[in-house]
Amino acid sequence: MSASLPKTIKEARDTLSSGRVSPEEIISETKRAAKEKNPDINAYLEIFNPEQSSNENGPLGNIPIAVKDNILIKGKHAGAASKILENYVAPYDATVTRKLRDAGAVFIGRTNMDEFAMGSSTENSAFGVTKNPLDMSRVPGGSSGGSAAALLIGGALGAIGSDTGGSIRQPASFCGLVGLKPTYGAVSRFGLIAMASSLDQIGSITKTVDDAEIMFGVLRGRDSLDATSQEGIPEKDTPSYKKRIGIPRALLEEEGIEKDVKDVFEKTVLEMKRQGYEIVDIELPNAHLALSVYYIIMPAEASSNLARFDGIRFGFHADGETVLDEYLKTRAGGFGEEALRRILLGTFVLSSGYYDAYYKTAMTIRNTIRDEFSEAFEKVSAIITPTTPTPAFKIGEKTKDPLAMYYSDILTVPANITGVPALSVPSGFVTRDNVALPLGLQIMAPHFHEDILFSIGRDVESIT
């Protein structure tokens, strides 16, 4: 964006209301930047034609927003970056789409992602890799990598994505942005192409914590079209010990978390102590199993959710001689490698003879981890960790080894497993090949206490 144009949603609202900048300038400049940089970065799968804000005086009046390809906008293509939905045009709006539009947002386009949100790098898209604008030899993270990259190229002031195991927070961390995964149920999933229904949550990627709070205010709310959504009243008030924060030390000892990532984290912790925070060690005895639990429950739910893609009612269709033949060919032709792998994994852990040992056991441990978080929140108001075990890795670095890729989520999945809200705030840099790469600090709070996330997040943000 040119020097005089606002760089955040908050700034944009101020300059628009003061008349210093016109809506046309912001939107046309955003589209121009998107069109100019997108061929190199591939953040957007499609950039839309000029749109009018339907509510110029709304909380997001004339604010340009990027939308992840798994969130439906009526009349536009939506495909979760999969070949199996290549020509699908959404017949209805997602609830979040309707809310954003009613708030005045202008949708710039739909962003690239890992197919069906399955991935941590946006390398699993059927439509090409998205590059990290900060270092184009590296990934922007995933699965909401396109949304993060769109912001960095000046192609939007805010973006929405989905987070099932870290897919908002991890790209935010890799791109030096703020990523919010709200409490499970805080934001309606109606109109989100489902991956794992007990884990998915729609959230935002923004430049600042203030912007995340603005977006959350628009997105949140109980929706009669999503029975898992809630109004969001926390069970307990913000505790009196709100400046006491916990670090699950044992989880940080897991192998694969790079040393300089830990060093940067410790430096931030020191600064937070100077800000008046009391930082204590806490125990989450089963949190190190969250990744294992996740890679049982998530594929199970995904295998069920992706059963609908059979070439009959929508999407890609391969001809065959019988119905069964058409299912087999359509799904083989439409799903990518990672989707196939996870569907088969899910089928396995739910199948007769294995269900108890895998899925049922995973559910038991899931409940235990949730209890352990609740117990921890009796003593601390928030839990902090680095968001990711490494900075942005190189394109192609982890594609040969699925487990290495899954490992990127080790610190983010606990929030999805338990449903607690989590915010990643840019915090420090490490150097790789002479390039400074950003890192994120992750804050987790009790259910429906996004207010705690924003409060602590603003403090972390102010540390330079």
């Binding site: 699908y88 209805y92 999407g315 196939l340």
Partner: protein, 97 residues
């Protein structure tokens, strides 16, 4: 646990033809992932009587089956997304053989 027979069985359950995939790699990857997730067996949580004290109380949220929308409101929109539609029907291959 995952050998060729198992992979073929799973692919059939999932209704996906895997003849064009690298089944070797698929089995290998799945074995590696399953070996990793089997860590859950070591959890301290297993083998204890379920405390069930702070278990969130789940209940089904059902609405009354009332106020249907007008018939036909969404028919066109839905048929437009179907790969093979004819008149007011979605067309499929013969099901009863």
């Amino acid at each position: 646990m995952i050998d060729d027979n198992e992979i073929n069985h799973l692919a059939h359950l999932a209704r996906i033809n895997i003849e064009q995939t690298d089944k070797e790699k698929l089995s290998r990857d799945m074995r590696a992932i399953l070996t990793y997730v089997e860590k859950i067996k070591s959890s301290s949580a297993l083998g204890f009587i379920d405390k069930n004290t702070s278990r969130p109380k789940h209940a089904n949220i059902m609405r009354e089956d009332e106020n249907p929308h007008d018939a036909g409101l969404y028919t066109d929109a839905l048929l437009n997304t179907a790969p093979r539609a004819k008149d007011n029907y979605i067309e499929v291959r013969k099901i009863i053989v």
